[in-house]
């Protein structure tokens, strides 16, 4: 295989990985900090892309639609955390039932509002060009997605390690009781983290719309990949989500090139290997009681 083609495949894998990263990051930190497996996390992806679609239809333009959609999805996250999840903190079974049920409700809501006809979110016109990279063409939009993903990773890393909020989150992942005993308003922290996680998934939805498409059902597909990433990368760390997402993105893409029929299996094989060597994931902070 020519190196330029291999390079192209790697870029494809990275773009896919970045989209997964944005979802998995939120999922992982919510999981790690709040001890909630949010099975409705895919709904934020769905909400992001569908709301953006409607706003683009209103001639709002891709970028404004993106921002508005992220804000709305974050708002949805706040409502969900305040009025529903708050009631089930510490009750794992109830959480699973609640979030699983919510994912169905959101999926049906989307069907009810937008119908089932296939829709498509167009690539923003400013990025709707393909670049000639050594004889092969590559869409500029995907490079943009990679760029956004990397910037986000740096930003989140900075937040986690260099700011007070990051310190609170790290402390919270390690020991929640102690954190609230120190006088931190854990409620506010939970709600804001949940909103940020929702917003990231929404962003992934908007950016992923032109690449992965929009249809009811993608929410659960993407949730499975994100859960794998959380397991591989480890709970409650942006870094784990980032490395895990890149790994899954690359394995998935290159797997399709070399072992088309084993793609899905390969992703899980990676997961098993990681679990065997490091049961807490690559960057996990240790198991919770």
């Amino acid at each position: 295989m020519a190196t330029s083609i291999l390079f192209m495949h790697i870029l494809n894998g990275l773009a896919y990985g970045m989209l997964l990263f944005m979802i998995a990051a939120g999922l992982s930190i919510i999981f790690g900090l709040m001890n909630i497996v949010n099975l409705a996390h895919g709904a934020f992806y769905l909400g992001g892309v569908y709301i953006a679609y409607s706003l683009v239809q209103q001639n709002l333009g891709f970028w404004l639609a993106m921002i508005a959609s992220i804000v709305l999805v974050a708002g949805l996250g706040v409502l969900m955390e305040r009025f529903l999840l708050e009631r089930v903190y510490g009750k794992e079974l109830e959480q699973v039932l609640l979030t699983f049920g919510l994912s169905f409700i959101f999926a049906d809501l989307v069907k009810w509002i937008w119908g089932t006809s296939p829709l498509a979110l167009p690539v923003p016109s400013s990025l709707d060009v393909s670049l000639d990279m050594g004889g092969t063409m590559f869409p500029a939009y995907r490079l943009f997605v990679i760029l956004v993903g990397c910037l986000l990773a740096v930003l989140l890393w900075y937040m986690e390690n260099k700011t007070r909020i990051g310190a609170i989150i790290r402390a919270g992942v390690d020991d929640r009781q102690m954190l609230s005993a120190l006088g931190i308003n854990i409620k506010v922290v939970f709600t804001s983290i949940f909103a940020v996680g929702a917003a990231l998934a929404g962003l992934s939805g908007v950016l992923g719309g032109p690449i992965m498409g929009m249809y009811v059902g993608i929410d659960s597909e993407i949730l499975v990949s994100s859960l794998v990433i959380v397991v591989v990368g480890g709970l409650g760390t942006w870094k784990g989500a980032f490395i895990g997402a890149i790994l899954v993105g690359l394995v998935d893409t290159l797997g399709r090139v070399w072992f088309p029929s084993l793609t899905m299996a390969m992703v899980f094989v990676i997961m098993i290997i990681v679990l065997l060597i490091k049961p807490n994931g690559l960057f996990g902070r240790g198991a919770h009681a």
């Binding site: 192209m8 089932t116 009811v216």
Partner: protein, 406 residues
């Protein structure tokens, strides 16, 4: 204690309510039955309203509803009721819904399904229960071959008829080296197999086959591979959102206008081309239906459809419309809804479809179809299908499976 007591009370309250509802419902249904219009004809529709096939199912339902509405929701002097069920594209669920429709609802005949695996699952119980099924979409070839049943008649299209008709034109006019791509499931393999046989017979060569999984999210890998393979043309078979993404990403990877894109009729249908937009411009292929077909039935159909739903009909709408039409024609002609009477007339039933004058092939229980060459053109800010000529007239699925090409 108090809680328990209350629970007991509310349970009694609920069962009282339920009994009441049942009584009222019973009274109502008695009323309709005794209103003297003739026994209602009950049709059970098993489609996939959740999951990726939802848009196809909704389209078929819209087509059926249009036909029955145009005919006063009656066949002869008997009112028609259609009960729609969601099989989730899952054979096990479909069998459950089938039992419900046949045993409890006592439907007279069935319409459906979308998925080929469902049609195979239903086929055996249908043989046993001897109930007529009008296939509104499932394209599995074998339903016309080894799995043929006296009670199953297809008014949609078979995979063989979807893959075959465009091949000769493509080989003679577009290029000899084709890159084919289809989802890795039976319909994908059947359609590509048919295309391959016809394409090779016309002097073409398949340079590469790609089999992404069904519901593949991103086609980047394959589009990069196409750039590397440099075929004369690409022939994909994909449906719904998969097809839309493929077409859009084909443009994003700079392939549009560089390597001609052809395809099955899915790529020449508003269900895909409307959301895909300008990216779908220039795709050439063979199709059994476009809204532009010039015949009286189609003109009336397009007008009525556009009036009711405010959009251009797609070919799934036509499949639904024709399913309803075939049921009505068959019941009228047979003068009964008994399976043994219906099967006699269904074997060679002829009707005016928006697709043209069509007839059932008694050997395969599958329609003889006229296939048209069509091209997507960009006109007034919208993709429309333009008919370039006939691809194949009177195309029947062979009576037995053709020998596999290498």
């Amino acid at each position: 204690m108090v809680g328990k007591k209350r629970l007991g009370k509310s349970r009694i309250w609920i069962s009282t309510l339920l009994t009441l509802v049942l009584l009222v419902l019973g009274a109502c249904s008695n009323q309709t039955a005794s209103s003297g219009e003739g026994e209602p004809i009950k049709i059970g529709a098993i489609l996939s309203f959740s999951g990726n096939f939802a848009p196809l199912s909704e389209s078929i339902k819209a087509g059926m509803e249009l036909y029955f509405e145009q005919n006063g929701n009656k066949i002869g002097n008997r009112p028609v009721t259609v009960k729609y069920e969601d099989d989730e594209a899952n054979p096990q669920v479909a069998l459950r819904k089938y039992r419900q429709l046949v045993d409890s609802e006592k439907v007279d005949l069935l319409v459906g399904p979308i998925s080929s695996s469902v049609v195979y699952a239903l086929r055996d119980v249908i043989e046993k229960d001897k109930i007529v099924l009008i296939v509104a979409n499932a394209a599995a070839n074998d339903i016309s071959w080894d799995k043929k049943s006296d009670y199953i008649y297809r008014v949609s299209i078979s995979n063989w008829q979807d893959g075959t008709p465009g091949a000769a034109y493509i080989a003679n006019n577009i290029g000899k080296k084709a890159y084919v791509l289809a989802p890795d499931y039976p319909a994908g393999h059947e359609t590509i197999e048919a295309f391959k046989a016809a394409f090779v017979a016309a002097g073409g060569e398949i340079v590469k086959e790609a089999w992404p999984k069904l519901g593949n999210n991103d086609y980047a890998t394959y589009l990069t591979d196409i750039q590397q393979t440099k075929p004369d043309l690409v022939f994909p078979f994909l449906a719904g959102t998969d097809a839309i993404r493929f077409v859009q990403q084909y443009e994003q990877f700079g392939l549009k206008g560089k390597i001609p894109l052809t395809g099955t009729q899915e790529f020449l249908d508003p269900l895909v081309t409307d959301p895909a937009g300008q990216a779908a411009e220039g795709i050439i292929g063979a199709t059994m239906y476009t809204a532009a077909l010039d015949n009286a039935t189609n003109k009336a159909f397009v007008e009525a459809f556009t009036k009711k739903y405010g959009k251009t009909p797609n070919y799934f709408n036509v499949q639904g419309y024709d399913s309803a039409q075939v049921i009505a024609k068959a019941v009228e002609k047979a003068g009964s809804v008994k399976s043994e009477d219906l099967t006699k007339v269904l074997k060679d039933i002829a009707f005016s479809s928006p697709r043209g004058e069509l007839a059932m092939d008694p050997m395969t229980h599958n329609l003889t179809l006229d296939m048209y060459l069509a091209k997507n053109v960009w006109k007034d800010g919208k993709i429309v299908q333009e008919i370039m000529g006939d691809a194949m007239k009177g195309l029947k699925i062979p009576e037995t499976p053709p020998a596999k090409s290498k």
